[in-house]
């Protein structure tokens, strides 16, 4: 008897405990966005769900595995074909030759110099183009008449292949770093302005009306509404500009340079040293990816999902 009673009491206790917990959660509703740790803690899911998670993990593993496999197979085949002389490595180089070329460049210290020159030009061009392009977009957003006046010119500038301006650029700012940076800026700036302007203009009219009904001035409308709602677009412009600015600096170096990765590529081509061309390209790849990675970190902060 007593045992049974105790059992019942126990159950009742547990029940009231649960009740209290429920009431607690009612008073303080749980946060909608749990962090990963919390999610792990409440993971007491059904078997079918566990299976589902397992399958998800397996799929992910398969994808990563084949990603690495494709790269390894490509490099391996390349090495094999050139090693057995099926294809002459003079024309397409080979992974081992590229590595030894990079080691060679690193040893005599020229590698860092060349890489730095190009990185420097790219970063400066990227920064100038982004800031200037953004400011121009703001000015065009601010004044409708000015915007309408400049609209056709921007469209023309956008479709103009900027490389055509090469000789003119050299004439204006002289051969060298300035010309390369300017080329980089010209390539990035128009697209920055156009994308940002369209992002500014796509802000919901009703939201602007709301701020106006609160007596907001144009400054406030810009800083409280337009700028934050164009943030996701800004991040995607940065991503585009990362790619474009490398195009600009390499193109600039093709035109006029005494150093840099673009210079190495042109030089390597002229003396038929494909190893050098490939090595420079490989380093370029790594640098460009690094820069892209930094920008994509920003993207996580300004998740485009927040755009309404």
């Amino acid at each position: 008897m007593t045992k049974q009673k105790k059992k019942i009491e126990n159950e009742q206790n547990q029940f009231s405990k649960k009740e209290k917990e429920i009431q607690k959660t009612r008073k303080n509703p749980p946060k909608m966005h749990k962090n990963k740790k919390e999610i792990k803690e409440i993971k007491n899911f059904s078997k079918s769900h566990q299976l589902f998670v397992k399958r998800l993990r397996r799929d992910k593993f398969v994808i990563v595995f084949f990603r690495i496999f494709v790269l390894a197979a490509f490099l391996g085949l390349w090495e094999l074909l050139t090693y057995t002389n099926v294809i002459d490595p003079f024309f397409i180089s080979s992974p081992s030759r590229i590595i030894s070329q990079i080691v060679l460049l690193a040893k005599d210290g020229t590698l860092w110099g060349h890489a730095w020159v190009t990185l420097y030009e790219t970063l400066i061009g990227f920064a100038i183009a982004t800031v200037l392009g953004y400011i121009i977009a703001v000015l065009l957003w601010w004044n409708e008449k000015v915007r309408k006046v400049f609209e056709p010119y921007i469209v023309v500038l956008n479709s103009l292949p900027k490389i055509a301006l090469g000789p003119v650029i050299i004439l204006w700012v002289g051969a060298g770093t300035n010309a390369i940076v300017l080329m980089c800026v010209l390539i990035c700036i128009v697209i920055t302005t156009m994308s940002m302007l369209s992002a500014f203009l796509s802000v919901e009219e009703g939201k602007i009306l709301l701020l106006k009904s609160m007596n907001a001035n144009k400054f406030q409308i810009f800083f409280k509404l337009v700028l934050p709602s164009a943030m996701p677009e800004f991040v995607s412009v940065l991503k585009i500009n990362v790619g474009m600015s490398w195009v600009g600096s390499i193109m600039g170096e093709y035109l006029t340079s005494k150093a840099g990765l673009g210079y190495l590529i042109v030089y390597g081509g002229q003396i038929f040293k494909i190893d050098l061309v490939m090595a420079a390209t490989f380093i370029l790849c790594i640098l460009a990816f690094g820069m892209y990675y930094f920008v994509s970190l920003l993207e996580k902060k300004y998740n485009p999902k927040t755009k309404s």
């Binding site: 709301l210 009904s213 007596n215 927040t306």
Partner: protein, 258 residues
């Protein structure tokens, strides 16, 4: 009771490139302080135009608008609530509510912020203060939008179909919520709606507007018993009044066709 808003023979024309659209034709009405008034009419008749004129976003082509006895419209006396909640997704609920205060920067900012906080507590949204709007339901979002408007302590609330984007059940409960909030804060409200039963259940006075150019065709004082809008719908008179307004709107449409 004192009139807070008066329209005297107001005419309004919209200007477009190849046409002039006659939107309001000799519109006159009074709105008493602390009353709840609805504007109903066929869609596109110029209901929103009346609100925009009241808010000072447009100026009448001719006629007079008196807000609180003054001809120059002080926008600070007016709170505007739209069909969409227009909450800013990158701001927390609290930051959304204090947006208006951030813009207007009143001298007694601390007092006003305290008042806004009180409103949040009073209407059960305080627990969601630091959350982003995206985690709220549609009805809650509209309630946040209403509190954002009330935080500026306007004398006159303009509600431009604030319920029309919501599903039916949310709409009925939100009607009750909004009505009780507005009554307990002792505000005057003008509601634009195309939902006749919504207008009947919520308002003290209904202005029935004609097709464009809009004129005030009829003024109805529903005077239905019942504390909440939902209760008022159970009234016997409700159906009759509904029918009356419905006929007026339908008649307008057939007239237009002929």
């Amino acid at each position: 009771m004192k009139n807070i808003l008066t329209f005297q023979n107001v005419n309004y024309f919209y200007q477009t490139k190849d046409d002039e659209i006659f939107a309001l034709n000799n519109v006159s009405f009074d709105i008493e302080e602390k009353s709840f008034v609805s504007l109903v009419g066929p869609s596109g008749c110029g209901k929103t135009t009346i609100l925009s004129l009241t808010a000072g976003l447009l100026t009448p082509s001719s006629g007079k608008i008196l807000l609180d006895g003054e001809e120059s419209i002080d926008t600070k006396k007016i709170g505007y609530m739209f069909q969409k909640d227009f909450l800013f997704e990158w701001r927390s609920v609290w930051k959304n509510i204090s947006l208006g205060l951030e813009i207007q920067k009143p001298k007694n900012l601390d007092e006003k912020l305290a008042f806004a906080e009180e409103l949040l507590k009073k209407y059960d949204l305080f627990a969601f203060k630091d959350q982003k709007p995206r985690s709220l339901s549609g009805g809650m979002r509209q309630r946040v939008a209403l509190i954002r408007t009330l935080a500026l302590e306007p004398k006159l609330l303009l509600l431009d179909e604030p319920f029309s984007a919501l599903d039916y059940q949310t709409r009925l409960t939100l009607c009750d919520d909004v009505h009780s909030i507005i009554k307990s804060e002792e505000k005057t409200a003008i509601l634009v709606t195309h939902d006749i039963s919504e207008a009947l259940s919520m308002s003290d006075k209904i202005l029935v507007l004609s097709n464009r150019p809009a004129t005030v065709k009829d003024t109805i004082f529903p005077n239905l018993a019942g504390k909440t809008p939902l209760k008022r719908r159970e009234n016997e008179e409700f159906g009759k009044l509904f029918d009356n307004i419905w006929r007026q709107l339908i008649y307008d449409k057939t007239e237009e066709k002929n």
